[in-house]
């Protein structure tokens, strides 16, 4: 099963599928933007400002999801002693970081008309900011540590420590009294979002996931070619 994660196997898939993912992303994003900006209804309370949800929520979901995968792969690196996982984690990090920044900035823009302020040191917002710092430290560790083995260990450690923040982000709105609203989408019970808003939200989430996949594939290819460049130097 672990052979599936071998660099040559992933490279074979990633090098062939990039252009297809790119075109699919453009199609899904165009549909998503049309739905989010023009076709979906305005909210009876928040009016048109609710449209910010279509970029804010998928970005937050993706940032959380990607960091969870990075943390899982980092734990796997230590458990299975498989160093192939680090290439996947390293390639996922840039898109996760960008999604985190988008979630923070669009949340701030949404906060102004809704709460009357651009920023509040609220549990959800602050924990998302901490996640961005962990993403930053993870990416920085790869840039400043030259020894590959040390970089794998330190970046994995950052991801594992940062994973403690994931449940804090998820349950912050339940554990503390926050300005940020509670979850509207629930897995275990009925969702409180109407289908006319849920469908555009789903399409935009799919577009964001495709963008993340596109960046992952390109970044993975870059990393693989970089390794092979070093191999050519040693010949």
């Amino acid at each position: 099963m672990l052979n599936f994660f071998s660099p040559s196997k992933v490279f074979e898939i990633s090098s062939k599928s990039t252009k297809y993912v790119f075109f699919l992303f453009i199609i899904v994003l165009t549909i998503g933007l049309t739905e989010a900006l023009f076709l979906s209804p305005e909210d009876y309370k928040q009016s048109h400002s609710v449209r910010i949800m279509y970029v804010h929520v998928p970005a937050a979901w993706m940032a959380l999801g990607i960091f969870s995968i990075i943390a899982f792969l980092s734990i796997s690196t230590f458990v299975f002693k498989n160093k192939n996982f680090f290439l996947i984690s390293k390639s996922l990090a840039p898109s996760g970081f960008i999604f985190n920044i988008i979630a923070l900035v669009t949340g701030s823009i949404w906060g102004k008309p809704t709460w009357g302020t651009w920023w509040a040191w609220d549990a959800r917002i602050t924990s998302m900011l901490i996640l961005a710092l962990f993403y930053f430290m993870y990416i920085l560790s790869w840039r400043i540590i030259n020894n590959k083995n040390n970089a794998i260990k330190i970046s994995s450690l950052i991801a594992i420590v940062g994973a403690i923040n994931i449940p804090i982000i998820k349950f912050s709105v339940n554990w503390w009294n926050t300005l940020h609203q509670g979850p509207s989408l629930k897995i275990m019970s009925d969702t409180t979002i109407h289908s006319s808003m849920l469908i555009p939200l789903g399409i935009m989430t799919a577009a964001f996931a495709l963008f993340s996949l596109l960046i992952f594939l390109m970044k993975f290819n870059t990393e693989m070619i970089r390794i092979k460049n070093k191999g050519l130097d040693r010949l």
Partner: protein
């Protein structure tokens, strides 16, 4: 109609700036990643071109190297 879409009951500047920021972030990350990929591909081709025939034969034995060479020539998106 167009004015209504742009202004969105006074929420237009918030909504449009949020979407604009998102799309700009996507474009920037895509271009940066693409640039890095092209730079590495160029370096690989330059190094590969300077190899002797014997070394080229060794490099070509590896599946990943074949894929890189194939994609460097074909991929220009």
């Amino acid at each position: 109609m167009i004015k209504e879409i742009i202004l969105m009951n006074g929420y237009g500047p918030y909504v449009w700036s949020a979407f604009f920021f998102t799309l700009m972030s996507f474009t920037s990350l895509y271009l940066l990643t693409k640039l890095q990929l092209l730079k590495e591909q160029k370096r690989y081709i330059n190094k590969f071109g300077s190899l002797s025939k014997a070394k080229i034969a060794i490099v070509r034995e590896q599946k990943i190297n074949k894929e890189i060479l194939l994609n460097t020539i074909i991929t220009k998106i």
